[in-house]
């Protein structure tokens, strides 16, 4: 069957799957109520989002310089920094740092999904644990993320209970609190036994080489704090000039991801160190001894030159648009590739190079425009999708 035929079968199976629809209808309702409450409590976020759009517009035009600046800053902080031009370059750099036979704890990162990092490291003979609960569920199901922030958004609690019961050999109820406690128990020791922790980053301040990590669960603090080595993979579009800019980007991101304030915002700029014994600075105190940051281009600098499509890089990955997409509402991430829905079609065209898949996704977008209404960066997804269709119609 053709790429389109396979894809159409996949989304139609999803559209007929009552479990997916049940899980999504609960999630969408909850998301809208939460974000509504959040924006009412912090109405200044809307104005801040406009300011952040300006910050992103300028930063995207200057990604290359910001990446170089961030690399210098990270190295000044006694970390190592790299610019990977392609996904393969990134895999080779990280693969070289990791080697084989290692235990790895991973924070959720869409950029690592984008390049297939977990699979690559597993193939090299490493044991990799996804530690974000949703991502852990998806990994154990042998599935793939179906939302950029809530990877298991398509799995209702009853199915999670079944999965964790199989893993633990216990008969667990479909009680969210019990399920969360079970995951905690399962992953606890892995954080402290792990050789390496891997994360992404929500936004990076180039002037200091500081990575901002926003989270609720506490898994990122453990994954990036407990093991002796921290490796971070970051798309170049996450770079902004200053710490003050980064803070603004972070604040808008979590508000539109429906949080008033997340329990944890970590800012990591280098390996841990101490000067407490005779003022001799020694790297590798309680946190990691090694800190590696890989900035991924992967088509981003090329995309930044395209007048109609560069707005893709303004995306903060808050995930709000997905909850507003009527097609996503019945198919979840099956309407997607590495990234989802209309905006995911543009990512697919850029990063996968699979024109047929990109076309299948591009023509699945209704161009209804509700995603644009939600987007804090006012990214015009229908406009981008039509732009992409023009490119595809002209032969790609």
């Amino acid at each position: 069957m053709s790429v389109f035929g396979d894809y159409k079968k996949e989304i139609m199976d999803a559209a007929h799957n009552e479990r997916i629809r049940l899980a999504l209808s609960r999630a969408i309702k909850q998301y809208r109520a939460n974000v509504d409450k959040t924006l009412k409590a912090f109405p200044q976020t809307i104005k801040l989002a406009e300011e952040v759009r300006g910050i992103k517009e300028r930063a995207i035009g200057n990604m290359e310089k910001l990446a170089e600046q961030a690399c210098r800053a990270i190295e000044a902080n006694h970390g190592q920094a790299y610019i990977a031009r392609t996904a393969d370059d990134a895999l080779n750099i990280i693969g070289g740092l990791v080697g084989s036979g290692k235990l790895i704890v991973k924070a959720k990162s869409m950029t690592s999904e984008e390049i297939g990092l977990r699979e690559h490291l597993e193939e090299k003979g490493n044991e990799v644990y996804e530690t974000d609960l949703g991502e852990f569920i998806v990994q154990k199901l042998g599935s793939r993320p179906m939302h950029i922030l809530a990877p298991a958004v398509h799995v209702p609690k009853e199915d999670v209970a079944k999965l964790l019961s199989e893993i633990t050999g216990e008969d667990l109820p479909a009680d969210v609190e019990v399920l969360v406690a079970t995951a905690r128990k399962l992953l606890r020791e892995k954080f402290f036994k792990a050789d390496i922790g891997i994360s992404g980053s929500n936004v990076v301040a180039a002037e200091t080489g500081s990575l901002f990590l926003i989270e609720n669960e506490g898994n990122i603090r453990l994954a990036t704090g407990a093991p002796p080595v921290h490796i971070a993979l970051v798309g170049m579009e996450k770079l902004v000039p200053s710490l003050a800019d980064a803070w603004k980007v972070a604040e808008v991101t979590w508000r539109y991801a429906n949080y008033t304030i997340p329990p944890y915002i970590s800012v990591v700029s280098g390996p841990s160190c101490t000067g407490d014994i005779e003022k001799v600075i020694t790297y590798g105190a309680h946190g990691p001894r090694e800190f590696h940051v890989i900035f991924l281009d992967g088509g981003r600098t090329e995309l930044a030159k395209h007048p109609g499509l560069r707005q893709l890089l303004y995306c903060l990955r808050c995930g709000g648009c997905l909850y507003e997409c009527p097609v996503f509402g019945v198919t979840a991430g099956h309407f997607g590739d590495k990234y989802f829905a209309g905006i995911g079609a543009v990512w697919a065209a850029m990063i996968s190079g699979d024109k047929e898949k990109a076309a299948a996704l591009a023509y699945t977008c209704l161009t209804c425009g509700r995603c644009k209404v939600r987007c804090p960066m006012a990214i015009d997804v229908p406009e981008m999708v039509v732009e992409l269709r023009k490119m595809l119609a002209a032969g790609g």
């Binding site: 009527p326 161009t367 209404v373 039509v386």
Partner: protein, 335 residues
């Protein structure tokens, strides 16, 4: 049609071909969409013209075509023809133009919103003409399909046609056509000087001091078409009109109205590429709307009207009616 179209779903290529060759979505004989207005004696040369658009003019035919496409899409035959309206029509000897001729009689009823819109405009004292069989297709679908060169060519031809009839101002009614005429076409026509207004804007100006009464008491919910609400920004206008009509109680769904309205699932040719999914989305939208207990769903787009009716049919709901806003206004004006 350029050659490099293998990445475009054939269903859309088929529609695009119809536009470029026949100046309508369906591939019906050129100009045949004008029959609804044959007894109205609207002048063909006028500074202001009413732009009827394919959607309403051919809606009965589109409805029948869609029902065939939907059945096909669900059947084993359809599974092997994932996007192939065009290839299907070839292989099965199916000819939409012939279907169109068979259904010609039915089109009169389906054009009711157009007839009502004309009555409303006349009733409000608006002077306008109608280009009838010379009305060009706006070509919007060409743009949304990604065939920008074809769209640009169509836009330039359209402008010439309008100018040759002395048109200075258009009153559009189909949301997508109106947006295309107002925003997309000017990008390809240097010096484009046609003023474009939507029917609702004209109505709202006209009804100010009029007594409007619906023939019965009704709980009405309004479904915002995407192109009307989010593209043209006409969100308050339809509501102000509905609220001005005595006998109508306007209700809104939870969250999904105005700029947050849920698409009916019939956007930009989607229904031709994903007919079954399109139907699922129509059902979902109807469910959202009916949670309010409304007994009439009002919308103002031929695509939405078809989809909402399809949704009701799939849910086997018989006591809820779908009406076009033009019909509602005509009833309330008693014209």
């Amino acid at each position: 049609m350029n050659k490099k179209t293998k990445l475009i779903p054939p269903g859309l290529v088929y529609i695009a071909d119809n536009i470029t060759s026949k100046q309508n979505l369906l591939g019906a004989p050129k100009g045949s969409g004008a029959r609804w207005a044959k007894d109205l004696n609207l002048p063909k040369e006028a500074e202001t013209v009413f732009f009827a658009g394919c959607g309403y003019q051919y809606s009965a035919s589109l409805e029948s075509l869609m029902s065939i496409i939907r059945k096909l899409d669900k059947s084993p035959v359809g599974a092997g023809l994932p996007m192939g309206v065009a290839s299907f029509t070839k292989r099965m000897g199916f000819d939409p133009a012939q279907l169109y001729r068979r259904l010609a009689a039915k089109d009169g009823d389906a054009a009711q919103p157009l007839l009502d819109a004309v009555k409303v405009l006349k009733g409000l004292g608006v002077e306008f003409g109608y280009l009838a069989e010379d009305e060009p297709c706006c070509g919007g679908i060409l743009h949304y399909t990604g065939l920008e060169e074809d769209f640009a060519q169509n836009a330039q031809n359209l402008y010439k046609t309008l100018k040759s009839h002395g048109v200075k101002k258009i009153i559009g009614i189909v949301p997508s056509c109106t947006y295309t005429l107002a925003e997309l076409i000017p990008k390809h026509v240097p010096g484009y000087d046609i003023e474009v207004k939507h029917f609702l804007q004209v109505v709202l100006e006209g009804i100010k001091s009029r007594e409007l009464r619906f023939p019965r008491e009704a709980k009405v919910i309004y479904h915002d078409p995407c192109q009307l609400a989010r593209y043209l920004g006409l969100i308050d206008e339809p509501r102000r009109i509905l609220k001005a009509i005595k006998g109508i109680e306007l209700v809104e769904p939870d969250w999904t109205f105005g700029e947050w309205a849920t698409c009916c699932g019939g956007g930009g040719g989607f229904e031709v590429v994903f007919p079954e999914l399109s139907q699922i989305l129509a059902v979902n939208r109807v469910k959202e709307l009916l949670e309010t207990g409304a007994d009439i769903i009002v919308s103002h787009c031929p695509g939405c009207i078809l989809q909402l009716e399809e949704g009701l049919k799939a849910l086997k709901i018989k006591n809820v009616e779908v009406l076009d806003l033009a019909q509602v206004v005509a009833m309330a004006m008693g014209v």
